[in-house]
């Protein structure tokens, strides 16, 4: 395996005075989709936020493309080519869909071709182009959040629970979008509770518990091993089907 695009070694992080991450070790292989699993409160969102420089790192190291980015300011980390879709999507609801996209296209005017590709992936974006983003439905907001993340070519996408609260049809659309991104060799770190969704997309997988990574390996391995799933995630294969 080539060098991972992102690697965390022994990362410890605080939010205010609370110690949330107690030494996270995590590798995201280049050009693959890695799924981050774990129970509620395991520290998945905090891990993504820590990569983006949004928590206080008290130990360990975050390396991106070989470079140590630990403790760097968020904007600088973003400019290295990392896009982050947070759990609450972080849509600017007072801005129009277009303005949200203009803001996300950091390096200048939006690329026509990429925009058309996004419109094909998520037709509602075209339809509601000049409407306030706050008026979009939950699923449409999620589409916008992902559209913003990919309006410019990025090295790495961090996406936190994109399927939360969405109807099955829209979840399928999202899965298609991730498939296309995978084909474009974009590296993706996806936090996902929906095991069917993540099993379908993920190549590698890491499982967190109580502020640390307790399992890391190939998704195929975990998907075939019901016992391991039971042990790590507390779910049987049939439970979420």
């Amino acid at each position: 395996m080539s060098d991972p695009i992102l690697s965390l070694t022994g990362v410890r992080a605080d939010i205010d005075q609370y110690h949330i991450l107690h030494g996270v070790d995590l590798q995201v292989p280049k050009g693959e989709l890695t799924v981050l699993l774990g129970r509620n409160g395991a520290g998945k969102s905090t891990t993504l936020r820590t990569i983006m420089g949004l928590t206080t790192v008290t130990g360990g190291q975050v390396r991106f493309q070989g470079e140590d980015i630990t403790g760097q300011p968020t904007p600088r980390i973003a400019r290295k080519g990392i896009a982050f879709v947070p759990e609450n999507m972080g849509i600017f609801s007072l801005l129009t869909v277009r303005e949200n996209m203009v803001l996300a296209a950091v390096s200048g005017p939006m690329d026509e071709q990429r925009l058309n590709w996004i419109f094909e992936l998520f037709p509602p974006m075209k339809k509601f182009w000049n409407r306030p983003a706050g008026n979009l439905s939950g699923g449409q907001k999620q589409m916008l959040a992902i559209a913003r993340a990919v309006i410019e070519p990025r090295e790495l996408l961090l996406v936190d629970e994109p399927t939360k609260g969405l109807a099955p049809a829209i979840i399928n659309d999202l899965a298609d979008a991730f498939e296309q991104l995978k084909q474009q060799q974009v590296s993706i770190l996806l936090v996902e509770q929906n095991f069917n969704f993540s099993r379908r997309l993920g190549q590698s997988v890491a499982v967190m518990n109580d502020g640390g990574v307790v399992y890391a390996g190939q998704m195929a391995e975990l998907a075939d091993n019901e016992e391991l799933q039971q042990e790590l995630l507390g779910l049987g294969l049939g439970a979420h089907q």
Binding site: R79, P86, L94, E99, V106
Partner: protein, 352 residues
Amino acid sequence: MSAHDEILEPRPQGAIARFRAFREKQPHLFLLVLMMLVAFFMMDPRTWVVLTISGLAMGAMVFLMASGMTLTFGLMNVLNLAHGAFISLGAFAGATVLVHWLNASAGESSLLANLAAVVPALGFALAVAGVVGLLFERLVIRPVYGDHLKQILVTVGGSIILMEMIHVIWGPNEIPVPRPDALTGAFLVPESWPVIGGVALEKYRLIAVILGLAVYGMMTWVIEHTRTGILIRAGVEDQEMVEVHGYRIRLLFLGVFVAGSALAGLGGAMWAMYREIITAHMGDELMISVIVVIILGGLGSIKGCFYGAVLVGLINLYVGYLEPRLAAVATVGLMVGVLMWRPQGLIPVIKV
């Protein structure tokens, strides 16, 4: 009871509904039209025209002073009580240029020579207030982001220092400000015009109105149509997400703070030429109007700030004419009235 009956007077349903919709959707226009109409029926139309222009002129100047503060609060959640000091600073800086220039070109009354004095005066006021704003953000505001109590204490302290510096540089006394000849005097409405024929409109007030409208138009354009404007609006809503997209919010803060201070300075210089006399504490006196305006308009809203300033300017002039003793309470009364009707101000942008 009788007032109550009047309100309940039966009217066509459609008209009432439309009126209600107008009142709720365009509260700023509703209030403006209401105020101007009430005043119109309480005085002679010629007086009304003069007072309205004067009120608009005052509103335009107060808008220049207030716009920076409403943005600083809306975007950065910073309460800068030293904003008034920047108004004074601009006034003194502008006055200095005017005094020197007009002495140099004494007696010249051509429009060109006068403009040559006014434009650099306003430019200098803008620049001085902007540069001091830059230092002030770095030294005073930066350490207290996110803490209102500290902001109040630190900016009041900073304000005292700035005013003392004005005393040190320009002396403790009030200073008369020469207004260039081309800007004094009045513009006579031709006699042939209906109703308002022969009314004298002060040139300077007309210019203040035009300048205020120009700045409002420019700010609106920047905020609605440029990337910077998008970032400002986005920053008002969610600073973290602006940073997640790769923009340094602190730099944006700094830019907005400097622009806001510069505009306060511009407003101060305009006010100096309007009053023709300035003191170091003029900024503090104007801060009452400024604070009323930004609360009235809705914190963080440029549009609300503009209409708030116009409303304050108009009510000052109208009430000052009709019942001078009430002029002082009118401004605050307007604010209390609006807040009882709309607790978030006319055009709310952020939740406080």
